[in-house]
Every structure is written in C-alpha cells, then in structure tokens.
C-alpha cells in the first residue's frame, strides 16, 4: 500500500545495507548486495534526515478528515490535552475513552542479523507509522511501551461512535501495513513472523475515571477503568495480526456484524460471575472492513490501496493490459 511506502523504504534501506552476515542472506540478489555495500551502512544520521520526510499520504489525511477525524499533533505523551487541567491536582473526572493497545511482535528476530542501531531505526520507523496513522485519525499516544503503543481515541467534544470508527480504521490500516508490506520486506531478508497484536475497548462516561498517576514530574494523566484494563488483556490474548475488541466497541462502531466473530476458544476473557457481568469479546475482521470501505480499492489479487482524492491520469500502456481484447458493441437498431 502506497500510504506507508516512505516508512517501508527506510526499513528496506536499513535491512539491505546493515545486515551483519550478508552470506547468510540468500534472498538478496548479488547485484543488490553489491549496490548495498557500495552505499555503505544506513546510519542513524541517515535515518534522522530521512525521518523528517515521514508523513502520511495526503489521501489518507483527506479520508480521515472526511470521516470527521481531527488530527492530534504535537502531543505530550501521557498528557491527554482534554484532561490536562487535572495535572498537578488530585481532581478526577469521569469521561468516556477508547483504549487501544498495539504490540508489534517478532522484532526480537532482528537482533539475529542486525546491530542495536539498526534495530532502533527499524523499530522507530514502525512505531512512527503507528503513531502517525493513529494521530491522523484523532488518536492520542498515551505511552510507548517496548515495541508497542498505548493509544486513546476520543475525548471532549468527539462523538463516541465516530471516535470508535476512527480508531478501528487507523488500527486496520496499520495492521495491513505490518501484515502485508512489512512482512514481505522482512521475509525477503529472512526475518519471519513479524506481526501485530491489538486489543481495544470502549469505556463509557460512567466507567472511566481520569486522574493523575504518579507524582510531580513522575506522573501521567491516566484512566482507571475496567475497559482500559480489558483492552490490555485483549491485546495479550490476540493472535497474530488480530484486533480483539470488546462488546462496547462493536456496539459503538455501528459497523456491519459481518466484521465480527466471537472470540472462539474463550467467549469471555473477562467475566464477573458474582455480579453476573459477562463481557463478550470479538475478533474484528479488519481486512474485510477495509475492503468494504468506500475509501479503499481492492485489486483482484486482494491488494488494497487508498483511493486518491484526485484520480491519476491513467497510464495508457498499463491500462491496455486490463482492457485486453475488449471490443464493445451496441445492440441498437440504427436505422
């Protein structure tokens, strides 16, 4: 998908040029190796200069906007702007929020062939892709943890259903990037099993308490909610490239039921039998969702692309391949 191409390019540069044992890498063609060696190591300073180019495609930004998302940029981690006033106080407030835990698994495999600097470049780039796509869809990065992220969606004056839709869209796009584009690039370098595990839940206005965790400078504005905790649990439970969502997410997103299937083995990741509280979790079929989106086009090979805001001028020779031998006629009496 073109949307993440710049991120993919950086990762490819690092993978191509920084491999410690080139002779173990059978998938890189000799000419590529020679070229990579000639270019020298892809260093942190190369990365820093390239990183400034990293942004998301204007098409994606436009789609987020047309879905009603307001991008959140220049954030201070752990300090959600809508609840900043709580900082330095012991006050609390109840307000809904969507909690999403994103983990990228399998990056440990990178250490087998790459040094720490390369690891940092690659991990950072993947995280930046996740951060940027979440922010474009109104997500707030609460915390960066290990290879993963903890993101809030929604806030003051943000419609709950819309925020849920934005959250699922951002996470679906990121999952597609990892499962398809990134996986392909990694596999070309003999690194297998890079995947996401995502858990998301929605806690309503009466179920989420906002307040300050920690003290003074060692603090963040946090949520105390069963649903934030459940989102973390769901993330831990998720299989490769799965997004697990709570019942509240399903109810709020108002998407077609065909995108959800009840978590198979264990219907309730959480239940409180004493209080008869049973909370169903679902696997969200994000690829089916993306392919159904009016903003996404799907090729017959199943690859997806974000529809551009302005159609490209068709490449005539490439279009010719799709037209093949087509020669139309009209069943009309002309005289």
């Amino acid at each position: 998908m073109e949307t993440f191409l710049k991120y993919q390019n950086i990762i490819e540069k690092a993978l191509n040029r920084n491999e410690i044992h080139k002779n173990l890498n059978e998938s890189v063609r000799f000419s590529d190796q020679t070229k990579a060696v000639a270019l020298g190591k892809y260093t942190m300073s190369d990365y820093i200069s390239n990183r400034s180019e990293l942004s998301l495609s204007t098409d994606l930004t436009a789609i987020a906007k047309s879905m009603g998302a307001i991008a959140r940029n220049n954030q201070i981690i752990g300090h959600h702007p809508d609840f900043m006033y709580l900082k330095g106080t012991s006050n609390t407030e109840k307000h809904y929020i969507i909690s999403a835990f994103i983990d990228i698994k399998g990056s440990t495999n990178l250490f087998k062939k790459y040094d720490e600097e390369t690891n940092m470049i690659i991990t950072n780039t993947i995280q930046l892709a996740a951060i940027n796509v979440c922010q474009v869809f109104g997500g707030f990065i609460q915390r960066i943890q290990g290879d993963g992220l903890f993101v809030y969606f929604g806030g003051k004056n943000v419609d709950r259903s819309k925020a849920t839709q934005h959250c699922l869209t951002a996470l679906s796009l990121f999952s597609y990037f990892v499962k398809n584009d990134l996986k392909r690039v990694f596999e070309q370098h003999g690194i297998e099993r890079i995947y996401t595990k995502i858990g998301v839940d929605f806690g309503d206005n009466d179920k989420v308490l906002w307040g300050v965790a920690g003290k003074e400078h060692t603090s963040e504005i946090a949520t105390y909610s069963l649903h934030t905790s459940l989102a973390a649990k769901m993330q831990a439970y998720a299989g490769s490239n799965e997004i697990i969502v709570g019942q509240n997410i399903k109810d709020r997103a108002q998407f077609d039921d065909k995108f959800y299937s009840v978590v198979a083995e264990k219907r309730y990741i959480f239940s409180d039998q004493e209080n008869s509280f049973y909370y169903t979790q679902y696997v969200f079929d994000w690829i089916k969702y993306l392919k159904s989106s009016p903003y996404v086009a799907t090729s017959i090979s199943g690859d997806i692309t974000i529809k551009p805001q302005i159609l490209n001028v068709p490449n005539i020779s490439s279009l010719r391949e799709t037209v093949g031998e087509n020669r139309p006629y009209a069943k009309i009496k002309t005289r």
Binding site: K288, K291, S292, P294, A297, T298, S299, I300, S301, G302, D303, T305, K307, P308, L311, N312, V313, P314, N315, I316, S317, S318, L319, R320, E321, T322, V323, G324, E325, N326, R327, P328, Y329, A330, K331, I332, K333, T334, R335
Partner: protein
C-alpha cells in the same frame, strides 16, 4: 430435470460467492428468483495501480452458465448512449453478439464474466474518456455491427458476399479435405479451417438471425442508394 436445475442453482451460488469474495463491495440481491449482484468494482491497470471505480449491477441469467449475464453501469460515470456502447435497454454491450453466442455455448461463469468482460469493458471506458477512442476499436451499432463481425471474420467487404456465405453454409457443410470456400484451391484444413470453425461454432439460431438482419440491412442500403441516385 429438477436435479439439473438444483445443480445449476448451487453452481451459480458457489460462483456468486467466489465473486463476492473477489469484489468485496458487491452484494447479492434476489428479485423474483433472479440473482442480481449490485455494488462497486475497482479498476486497476496492469501495473496494479488503481484507476477508478464503477457502480454496477450484474444480472445472472436463467440458463446459467450457458447464457451471458447482463451488465449495467449504475453510477452514470459515462453517458449512456450507443456511442459509449450502452444498449437501448441500458445494458452494457461488452462484446459482439457473436462472441457472446460462442462463449455462452461453452459456458461462462459469473467470475469469468467479471474478469473477461466487466473489468475490461469498464477499463476501456476509462481509456475512451482519456483518448477518445477504444483500445481495440469497436463494433458498429446494431445490424451494421453484425455485418462488421462477418466482414472481418470472412474478410469480405461486400454485404452481398457475406449474405451468400451465410445462406450457403447455414444449411450445408464442408469438410476438412474439401476445397476451401475462399476459392484459393487449397483444402479447407490448409486454408480457412479456423474461420470456418468459428462460424460453425455459432449457434444455428444466431446464424439465422444474423442472416435475416443482414438481408434486411442490404435492402435498406440499396433503398438508400436508389434514393440518393434520384
């Protein structure tokens, strides 16, 4: 007979399912037992670059798979006129009537229809918008298109010769070792066997209708010539 109908139905259902998976924005609707696929298809070029999307409706035929499905462009992305190859009933004329006949006799699945006719036809519309012409040319409308098909197939420019060919070979056969119909003196198998096979591959009904249309076209042409002479 019922068993055959049931088998055809289940084949159609399976084939539709395959299309719905390949084209995720298409949906199935059933109206008076007729299965209709509605929704949007995305056009990609040979380099897998997205080109455009079209809203369409495809009606599964009753004699599936031995009848052509019908395609309708429902988004009005291009003008619905004969010059854009839209028929009087609003359906898209994706190919000549004769090709439709040949393909239907062999059988055509919904998936093949999408891949071989729907996407190429719509991509050709994009090409026309950009270039003002059709990639492989097109067929004239109505009876003129029928004449054009046979004229190109038989390499005959004169309508009277085409009518004569159809009149003769609609009712009689020639064999591989007979002299070729073109008058070259060669055996058919060493000359126009391929052309003859295509011609004989058309259903008898199709050939008879075409002969009738061509005769009526010839009359219209000679009448027009006479009028012009006067």
């Amino acid at each position: 007979m019922e068993k055959i109908d049931h088998m055809q139905r289940s084949k159609l259902d399976n084939d539709i399912q395959e299309v719905l998976e390949m084209f995720p924005k298409m949906k199935l609707e059933v109206e008076n037992k007729v299965k209709i696929l509605l929704g949007e298809v995305d056009i990609f070029d040979g380099a897998n670059t997205y080109v455009d999307s079209f809203s369409i409706k495809v009606i599964a035929p009753s004699r599936y798979p031995h009848e052509f499905p019908r395609l309708f462009e429902t988004g009005n992305k291009f003008e619905h006129i004969a010059d854009r190859h839209i028929s009087e009933d609003g359906s898209c004329c994706v190919c000549s009537l004769q090709e439709e006949n040949l393909v239907s006799q062999r059988g055509i699945t919904i998936k093949s229809f999408f891949l071989k006719y729907v996407l190429p036809y719509l991509a050709n519309q994009v090409y026309f918008d950009s270039q003002g012409k059709w990639i492989n040319g097109d067929f004239e409308h109505g009876d003129l298109g029928i004449f054009q098909y046979y004229s190109e197939l038989l390499k005959l420019e004169n309508i009277a010769e085409v009518i004569e060919f159809l009149s003769v070979f609609n009712v009689s056969k020639i064999y591989r070792n007979d002299d070729c119909f073109c008058g070259s003196g060669k055996k058919l198998k060493r000359c126009h066997q391929g052309t003859y096979n295509i011609f004989k591959g058309l259903s008898k009904k199709r050939r008879e209708i075409d002969l009738f249309e061509l005769k009526s076209l010839a009359k219209k042409i000679s009448k027009k010539i006479k009028e012009e002479q006067l």
